[in-house]
Symmetry: C2
Subunit: 421 residues, 2 copies
């Protein structure tokens, strides 16, 4: 077997991962669980080395004037490492997706056909300076029988180098090839470019991060890409919404964790609900520190509403700013969503069953909700253990991506010498 | 609604299709079946006009010296139109894929989540001068609730223009927007380029045709692509294969229809089966007009075996030429396939159950067979009514693509005011 240590080029390293993927694809579930257990143990054992590598990245980041939010996402602590280790054990405990029979039948001539889940082979991930993503994606890939090539942000180079060494050592200790997990961080930009051009060696590429990062990968990659996109998420308060439910759903969707993609950015309120809902809603939002920016009609209704920005409805704020738009009909709400949504998550608050079903049927987003907070769009909440990302495209995976979304299928055909007439 | 007749640019036409797709996505199955029935009737009614348009294309093709094989694929006849009409009725009779529940559960907090099948929205297809593909893809798209943008080969321009008019008139007569089916053939190359760049307007693009066409689309498209690739298809005759079964499977796989992607290109024979199988196999192949080209060992075994070309194992002949390679072990056969296969279809002929299962598990192709002809890899044979193409990639669809493969999913979430803690 080609050892990574002998890989002098990105191409050689990708070939080594491809080679390792063939061994990984035919492991039993028990072998993959054992490797994940070894990883969970190794993360805790190497905690000191991981934290000191991380401290090095943080020092460099501070020197380079990295923004506070980015430093926060880059930071590992002893507690966070224990949480990462726990997540790996959760992923190990999931039902094995491999070998599941999706469909099957016996043809008229007696030939049996069966569509079964198999790993992709090699999964590539390009992401920003969040070292926890290194562990999450590697663990989900391993659970689903995939080798993985990781390209993390350069600001996390020392952390990711140490994490990769820990992960690779752990899986090798269980008899699986270390090259099931590889990083190409040390090849800089050239590495990312070559990864995007490695069709045939890498089966799927998942970019996770800013809109700009994702756009670059979509434009430049010849490897099939699963887009995990931004969230311009809407909550629509229907004419006969329950007042307190409307307030609590909007408040939770906006304020529970404003910086993430499933947080609400725009609330749409039916004109007939305004007199009943608006005051209570604006009070609650003000108390939570939310600044509300509305259309002309909304501004006229309350001094709490500031003017909407020119590009208000197309902005993912990711902070405590919320757009407010008054609509006259359910159709108008659905049309606004069709125009501005990034097709991530939208929720209607209503007591009208017919309007609920129309909203569910006609809104074209990965997750469409009735009377629930948009914050529920999450792999952990959905029972996937963790998530690779939330797909906002329609090909292959849509919504939170867990181990099932990291599988492909193949058709197994069993005959007794049949030929085609 | 925007009418196609007012669309002066490719962009405007794609926007009109996108708009129509929203109406189509919420039709009932009965409405889509009615539209397909109307298409089947209209194809037969307009048979004369379709044939005379086709005659015009054929005359131009002959003038331009189009190859005989291409002229054959371009040709429509009254019988072929009746067959097309019958295929549309078969597709109408399929179980509706839309609304099928793929997974679902109730979370601990009482929120119900459900993953259901929905249409992509707008499907794009780029293909060569085969007017039957226009009807097949339009019908499969309509059955699965998708609007479709068709870009056929320029040599079929008159035929496709007439077919599109027939199809559009038929669906409009049932109350659905004509723009559910559109062609952009009249925009020439510029149209194809803009289609490949229309991410956001078109949800998935399916190239169907030569390796060169597919490579171009993969390289240039920002719209997600499903690759329908070439077939370097292998049959492996194992050490204890049944002799007559080996002969009949190889013969059928190679000669039943040599010009298509599921025809065999290389036969691998285990050294221990040579004395038993080779003479009978070469006799049968010779009688069927097959020219066999083998490695040095195979050449030494029979005067019937000509020398293999330098790139023999990497060549998709699509004619009555067959490569022959002798292997010493099952592993050697699997390694050869891993190196040269296009991951379409491979078959093992064996009476050894262990070897059969190893082959099924380790060969990484869309369809892997035991004791069956590779010619069975086909949407019609698999019970899909027809096929959009045969996917040789792993993302979203793998193997023959029918209506299910033209769907995405969305998550429907129903709560009672739940918010996230």
């Amino acid at each position: 077997m080609i050892k990574a240590t002998s890989a002098n080029t990105v191409r050689e390293r990708l070939e080594a991962v491809r080679y390792a993927s063939r061994a990984l694809a035919i492991t039993t579930g028990a072998e993959r669980v054992a490797a994940l257990e070894a990883i969970a143990v190794a993360l805790e054992r190497d905690s000191g080395a991981i934290l000191s590598a991380n401290e090095k990245d943080l020092a460099t980041g501070r020197e380079n004037g990295l923004a506070e939010g980015l430093l926060d996402r880059l930071t590992l602590t002893a507690d966070r490492i224990v949480e990462l280790s726990a997540a790996v054990r959760e992923i190990a405990a999931l039902v094995d997706p491999l070998g599941q029979v999706v469909r099957g039948s016996t043809l008229a001539n007696g030939v049996r056909i069966e569509q079964v889940r198999v790993p992709f082979g090699v999964v590539g991930a390009i992401y920003e300076a969040r070292p926890n993503v290194t562990v999450d994606i590697a663990a989900l890939a391993l659970r689903s029988g995939n080798a993985v090539v990781l390209r993390g942000g350069s600001a996390a180079l020392a952390s990711n180098t140490q994490l990769a060494a820990t992960l690779r050592g752990a899986i090798e200790s269980t008899g699986l090839p270390a090259d099931c997990i590889q990083t190409i961080d040390d090849f800089g930009r050239e590495g990312a470019t070559e990864l995007m051009r490695s069709r045939g060696l890498v089966d799927v590429l998942i970019p996770r991060g800013s809109a700009r990062l994702i756009e670059t990968v979509v434009a430049d990659s010849t490897v099939p890409v699963i887009e995990t996109g931004a969230g311009i998420v809407h909550v629509y308060v229907d004419a006969d919404a329950d007042t307190s439910m409307a307030v609590s759903v909007v408040l939770n969707a906006k304020t529970h964790r404003p910086s993430v993609c499933n947080a609400a950015e725009t609330v749409l309120i039916h004109r007939d609900a305004v007199s009943r809902v608006l005051t209570a809603l604006l009070d609650a939002l003000r108390q939570a520190g939310v600044s509300v920016r509305g259309d002309a009609e909304a501004q006229g209704l309350s001094a709490d509403v500031e003017p909407a920005a020119v590009d208000e409805w197309a902005t993912e704020h990711l902070n405590l700013t919320l757009g407010l738009h008054i609509v006259g009909t359910l159709d108008e709400a659905i049309d606004h969503i069709a125009e501005y949504s990034t097709h991530h998550t939208e929720s209607i608050v209503t007591n009208n069953v017919r309007n609920a079903e129309i909203f569910l049927a006609r809104v074209d987003s990965a997750v469409v909700m009735v009377n629930a907070s948009t914050r529920f769009t999450d792999g952990g909440v959905f029972g996937f253990g963790a998530e690779v990302g939330i797909s906002t495209q329609k090909l292959h995976a849509r919504g939170p991506m867990g181990v099932t979304e990291l599988t492909s299928t193949k058709w197994l055909v069993r005959g007794d010498g049949q030929v085609r007439d």
